[in-house]
Symmetry: C2
Subunit: 272 residues, 2 copies
């Protein structure tokens, strides 16, 4: 059993690449999946280009990611092409999804009742948001009009979420809850940070290498700052522990590796 | 002549994907290249994994990007594998580059003279930063110790920069200046923003489609906010104009498209 789900993230929008907007969804999702015990293997920013989206999703499915999470490009306008890109990648034809249509209609009716939009009901642009790949399930969007999309392609779960951060987060925290509970079965990302009284990575590298060789499951990573700005350096040791028998072992290896590194640093004359 | 350079960005570091650090280099570079008249086609975050870096760089070269800019993974420690990933992607063997070695030595000697590091000179970890792919040119780093790297692979220029933002920016603004002047020959990204007194994209979509169809070179993109939070919506029309004869035409098309959209919006009863 694969206890560490492997995730790939795809953020779509011309504005992310022409610096009209700084993508923050990727970071938010990386933090979420890491905390849940998953491993984000890659994250990609792409323009509003159906072909590029289709190629990227197809590659993720071929790499057998456990989940591919796409943000952006779900709206009613012609430049929103994420769902058609996913349909193209998976070969699942777009169909009018009755449940999604109901969700969209209800949202616009409610917005019209509050006077936020001039009229409720459906028009062609609104209906577009209910055309989903065959077999997909819509995810209710409590903060906007475009439903999210959940579907399977091979062993990979594909999740499409809106690009507006509040809508993306609202779907994750409500409609996507059951899916996340199913995929992330209690694993954890555990990290220990050592602050070393030395800012010269070139002197510390032999020690890092030794610990990394002794504990293959433990990632050892120094984070460099700017020389002279700080006389210290941070070293992170981390493991991703699956939610099962192996978890205690992984945590034990992490603690031993941290203790070993601390001892090696002390022997070399560096406080940590 | 291709007057709009196509750029791909690659940001490397486990900490970017496990949310230890939020990547800001990509946004900074997207803004720079867009302002210079380039088009950033995609941006990828990858872990410190030589094979993944090599595969991504190879794919960028096969897509014939004009430039691939990689940030992160240039340091002295074992987890810094960007340069070996690039070597693997291009087939250029790693060689000790004498100019890079001189740069690294000079930086450590200067840091030692200021008391920032305990000793100057070269050790194996420091020397590692001077092993570059054959044919590569080192880029002096005024803010750190790892030189940047510039090389060609087919028609693609590969640029490797450190992940520490101040070092990355310092190299771009000094050592990379001539390269940028050569690649970006005066093109411009021009954008017009219309603020529409309507927050319902589904009503505006037919107008956007009409303008987009009339002006194929002009990108029309609505940026949705949260319903009810604002009664307005932003629409961006943009062109990337090459630095040559076509520039005036592109700008003229943009102005005409913006005027047309404003007229269509007014006819439909929306202020803009």
């Amino acid at each position: 059993m694969n206890t560490t789900p492997v995730i790939e993230i795809l953020a779509v929008g011309n504005e992310l690449l022409n610096a009209g907007v700084q993508d923050t969804n990727t970071f938010w999702l990386c933090r979420l999946f890491t905390r849940l015990g998953g491993r984000v293997r890659r994250a990609v920013l792409l323009p509003d280009d159906e072909e590029a989206i289709a190629a990227e999703v197809k590659a993720s499915v071929l790499r057998a990611a456990d989940a591919v999470v796409v943000t952006g490009g779900l709206g009613p306008t012609a430049d929103d092409v994420t769902v058609s890109g996913v349909a193209r990648a998976t070969g699942a034809p777009l169909r009018l999804n009755e449940e999604a249509l109901r969700m969209v209609r209800e949202r616009y009716d409610a917005l019209a009742a509050k006077g936020v939009v001039s009229a409720g009901g459906i028009n062609p642009a609104r209906e577009k948001m209910a055309w989903l790949p065959a077999g997909a399930v819509p995810l209710a969007n409590p903060a906007g009009t475009a439903p999210g999309v959940l579907m399977k392609a091979g062993r990979t779960s594909l999740v499409c979420l809106p690009g507006v951060p509040q809508e993306m987060q609202a779907i994750v925290e409500t409609s996507l809850h059951d899916f996340l509970a199913e995929v992330f079965t209690g694993g954890r990302f555990i990290e220990r940070r050592l602050i070393v009284d030395c800012n010269d990575e070139s002197l510390l590298d032999p020690l890092f290498r030794r610990v990394a060789a002794d504990y293959p499951g433990v990632a050892v990573k120094a984070r460099a700052g700017l020389f002279a700005e700080t006389p210290r350096l941070e070293v992170f040791l981390s493991v991703t522990a699956g939610g099962g028998e192996g978890e205690g072992d992984a945590e034990e290896a992490l603690e031993k590796a941290a203790a070993d590194l601390q001892r090696l640093l002390a022997e070399a004359g560096f406080g940590a």
